[in-house]
Amino acid sequence: MLGELEQVVLLGVLRVGKDAYGVPVHDEIQRRAGRDLTLGTIYKTLTRLEDKGLVASYIGAPTAERGGRRTRCYTVTAAGKRSLQATFKALRHMAAGLDVGLEPT
């Protein structure tokens, strides 16, 4: 079962798709979930996810607007997608039949 931060970041990486590094993931999470995570939090979560094998990273090209620094971009691995599915499934089972407005409409 994934932590809440891990779910948000995984979904963020999935939504960004190509070239998912800190800034776009941050902006996507802010836009969709209304949460202003710091880059540090995001990279820390991504590092943890990578240790667990749920995301994979590759080094991007250095650009001038980044002061010659390379980006580190992330993609969600098959294991990561399975984890998300398992987490969502577990949540759905837990919520099934409860009258608190959790059922997907």
Partner: protein
């Protein structure tokens, strides 16, 4: 900011981690410095790896910081109390020093400010006295040490105009004034020597603030005439916004003096201040000697026109700060004491915590942590606490400084440049950190060294720690006593001051200034008709008991004195003639002010109308000075020079406090309005009301405006407000000293409580044994109270000794009591004794409830 972020991140994080974050930060740096700072801290926090051998110091430090933060978060009560305590103390100290730095310490905002000096005549009693224009002129022509100099006179013009007449505070200055200061107008030109003559002196320079406010920053105003007191005067320049007129703070307009060869250029007309810039190659002492000798030559040349004794030369910086220096220094000392107490309290809390953490340390030592590692840990915790305290202090200073500044006297120089002094904040925080470390680490040595033994033996607590805590509490109590004594002295002084009999009844009085200036009031008859109309209409308002007009009121801050002569006994040197406050009043004045008539009678309408037989009332002190022991009624008096008409004394009044409740009493004389030389264009209306005088103010205002709406009505205030204003500085000192003293009291009581509570917890076993052996609960309470009482008694004694040594520096803030006022000392000692007793009782009763069986079993 971004460079700092890159610098610290590159040194703190592994390169493969730092590159992506730094890249992101560079890419997004347009989000601002604050964002970068936040992200940097977050990155350091989140992405930093566990320290390994060979890691940089920064990385270990961050590791320590994480542990420290976690520990602080786990002890929220300790953290919150410490941060609030430190924050309040750091904030208050920063606020006070933010005022002191620009007001007292910062050089004046002029080039070579140390060359600027005021030149005064030295009075017989050593006091400083203004100079007359002739004296100023002679100084100028004879001195070789003066580069530029200017004479400054008070000026309160009304900016007249179609709609909104306005009184502003101004200065009349001789032409070199701005040259002496070393500043030039921003727009237009400076005063020139040819402006400074009678007839050509209808020329003014505006302050930047007035130009912006009243003339909408319109540069074309320069060269145009504006209407001042209904005369056209040409604006020749506007001063820059940065110009701060330290010689008279708040001045909005300057007019060139133009005094040469006027009748009021005499040597005995002391109404000008003299500012001089001393030549660059001359020492201040040389200038002092030269000017003193020039003045002494003048005294020899005109023996019947001087009663002074040489000249006093004071640097402008000293002069500007003279009035406020003692109070500000006393306050800064007080706030530093509070800071010390706060630090002592926080250290005390830390030590109490250290006792509980002995096991943690012991375990870490057992697991191989080096002593230096543990010290570094403590150091980091102190640093983090000081940093949080500093941040809280910034918030406190930010919210309290504007409040403080708004209550400072308007006459204080450099008010406009006061802002939070970040250097002071940093210095105070660093001081707090240093004190915390010195006080907190030294005693921690013992436990850390002996930890291994402690862990094995299960023994608890080290004696050194307990002694230190007791010493800290004694110190806190002593400092609190000193602050309470100071606050008590200042407070008792204010009470004494307010109970001074002002010589009139200030309750139910409304005062305001009535103007009659401009083209319609060239004739005295018109002015007096206006006054009569004001009295008639306001006097008829419901709720008004009586009204009167006077050229000035007691405690109003005016100085309007004339020499008083007995025509039968005229001294040869006019400087030896006593001066008395000029009161030109309407007949109802004494009844309205409730000034007692000791002998004789007051003016009647018949006196007022009779211009041939002039009458005068004198204050008891003036009567005593002129005719000691004799009956003053029927004596004759001349005011305003030898040639003045004789006036017959018809009555003697009680003395009033003209200059201030705390000032030396002056002499007063009263003449009816119609019998004075000329009508005053600005007079004060004083209204005695049946009810609240403030409530009737709008009606009175409206009534006066209905007579002539073109005249400004200003300074509307109740007499109680006037008195409050005359004691502003003392009130402010009392509020601040009081707040500091209360804070000190609370902190020191909390300190005593903390020590005793900790001690009770440590001594549970001992107390259990005692009660098992038959000690009654009363014995146990007594045991604890005695322990606390000893601390408090030593602290109180030390504090009283400290007070005896230091309160004399408060002397300028005191009134009517000595700095070692026994009642205050005894009162404070008793108060602290009582409060500490209460603080002892709580841990005492807790100790008495210790259940012996449980206390003994717990081992």
């Amino acid at each position: 900011m971004i460079r700092f972020a890159i610098w610290i991140l590159e040194r703190s994080l592994r390169p493969e981690v730092s590159a992506s974050v730094i890249g992101d930060l560079i890419e997004q740096q347009q989000r601002g410095a604050l964002w970068i700072l936040g992200e940097t801290i977050s990155a350091l926090w989140n992405l930093h790896a566990r320290p390994q051998s060979g890691d940089s110091l920064v990385m270990t430090f961050i590791g320590d910081l994480r542990i420290a933060a976690r520990l602080l978060r786990r002890a929220p009560a300790f953290t919150v109390v410490s941060v609030i305590t430190l924050g309040l103390a750091i904030g208050a100290t920063t606020a006070i020093f933010s005022v002191i730095e620009p007001v007292l310490l910062r050089p004046l905002p002029y080039p070579r400010p140390e060359r600027l000096a005021f030149v005064w005549e030295r009075g017989r009693d050593g006091s400083r006295d203004n100079v007359g224009y002739a004296t100023f002129r002679d100084f100028m022509s004879e001195s070789k040490t003066i580069e530029y100099a200017a004479a400054i006179g008070d000026w309160q013009p009304t900016l007249s105009g179609k709609d909104n007449p306005e009184r502003v505070s101004g200065d009349r200055v001789s032409w070199q004034y701005f040259r002496a200061l070393g500043v030039r107008p921003e727009i237009g030109r400076d005063f020139l020597v040819e402006d400074d003559v009678p007839g050509k002196n209808q020329i003014v320079i505006l302050s930047h603030a007035l130009w912006k406010r009243r003339y909408n920053a319109d540069a074309s105003i320069v060269g145009r005439p504006i209407s001042i007191d209904d005369n056209p005067m040409t604006v020749v320049g506007v001063m820059p916004e940065s110009f701060d007129n330290v010689a008279s703070p708040g001045t909005q307009i300057w007019r060139v003096l133009g005094y040469a060869n006027q009748p009021w250029t005499c040597r005995t007309c002391h109404h000008l201040r003299m500012l001089a810039r001393i030549r660059p190659n001359v020492s201040m002492d040389a200038a002092r000697t030269e000017l003193d000798q020039i003045h002494k030559r003048m005294e020899r040349a005109y023996p019947d026109q001087y009663a002074s004794n040489g000249a006093i030369v004071v640097t402008m910086q000293d002069e500007a700060t003279r009035e406020f220096r003692p109070a500000l220094l006393a306050l800064s000392a007080a706030v530093l004491l509070v800071l010390l107490i706060a630090v002592a309290n926080v250290v005390n809390l830390q030590l109490a915590r250290a006792v509980r953490r002995e096991e943690e340390f012991a375990v870490r030592v057992a697991l191989g942590a080096s002593q230096s590692r543990l010290f570094r840990q403590l150091l980091t915790e102190g640093l983090l606490l000081a940093f949080l305290g500093g941040a809280a202090g910034l918030l406190v200073a930010r919210s309290s400084l504007p409040l403080l500044v708004s209550r400072l006297p308007m006459s204080m120089p450099r008010l406009g440049v006061i802002h939070i002094d970040m250097a002071a904040l940093g210095a105070v925080t660093a001081l707090v950190l240093a004190l915390t470390l010195v006080m907190g680490l030294a005693p921690a040595r013992g436990p850390v060294r002996d930890l291994g033994i402690n862990l094995r033996s299960g023994r608890r607590l080290s004696g050194g720690n307990r002694t230190t805590r007791a010493a800290l509490v004694v110190g806190e109590v002593a400092l609190a006593v000193m602050l309470l004594v100071s606050a008590g002295l200042v407070g008792r002084s204010l009470i004494r001051l307010l109970s001074v009999d002002a010589g009139f009844d200030p309750t139910h009085l409304l005062t305001l200034q009535v103007n009659s200036s401009g083209a319609n009031y060239r004739e005295d008859a018109a002015v007096i008709a206006h006054h009569d109309r004001v009295r008639e209409l306001v006097g008829a308002l419901p709720g008004v008991t009586s009204v009167a007009l006077a050229n000035q009121l007691p405690l109003g801050g005016n100085t309007d004195m004339y020499g008083v002569l007995d025509p039968e006994n005229i001294p040869s040197n006019p400087e030896l003639v006593p001066s008395g406050d000029r009161y030109v009043v309407t007949p109802g004045y004494f009844a309205t002010m409730r000034i007692p008539i000791l002998r004789g009678r007051v003016f009647t309408a018949a006196d007022a109308a009779d211009t041939a037989n002039k009458v005068v009332l004198v204050s008891a002190a003036l009567a005593q000075r002129m005719w000691p022991g004799a009956n003053p009624l029927g004596k004759r008096l001349r005011v305003g020079g030898i040639k003045g008409p004789n006036r017959v004394v018809i009555g003697v009044t009680g003395n009033v406090r003209h200059r201030g409740l705390d000032a030396t009493t002056t002499l007063q004389w009263y003449v009816p309005e119609h019998q004075w030389l000329e009508a005053d264009n600005q007079v004060v209306l004083v209204v005695r009301t049946a009810g609240d005088p403030a409530a009737i103010a709008p009606t009175v205002r409206k009534t006066i405006a209905s007579i002539d709406a073109s005249q400004p009505i200003i300074n509307v205030a109740t007499m109680d407000q006037v008195i409050a204003t005359s004691t502003t500085q003392r009130r402010l000192a009392l509020v601040l000293f009081g707040a500091f003293a209360v804070a000190a009291l609370l902190l020191s009581v909390a300190g005593i409580y903390g020590v005793l509570a900790g001690s009770v917890a440590e001594r549970t076993r001992e107390i259990g044994v005692r009660s098992a052996l038959g000690a009654t609960p009363a014995n146990i309470v007594g045991l604890i109270v005695r322990q606390g009482g000893r601390l408090s008694a030593v602290g109180i004694l030390l504090g009283l000794a400290g007070s005896l040594a230091l309160t004399r520096y408060l002397r300028t803030l005191l009134f009517g009591i000595g700095p070692n006022d026994p009642a205050t000392l005894v009162g404070v000692a008793m108060l602290l004794g009582l409060v500490t007793l209460l603080a002892c009782l709580i841990p005492g009763t807790r100790a008495a409830r210790v259940d012996p069986s449980r206390a003994l079993q717990s081992e």
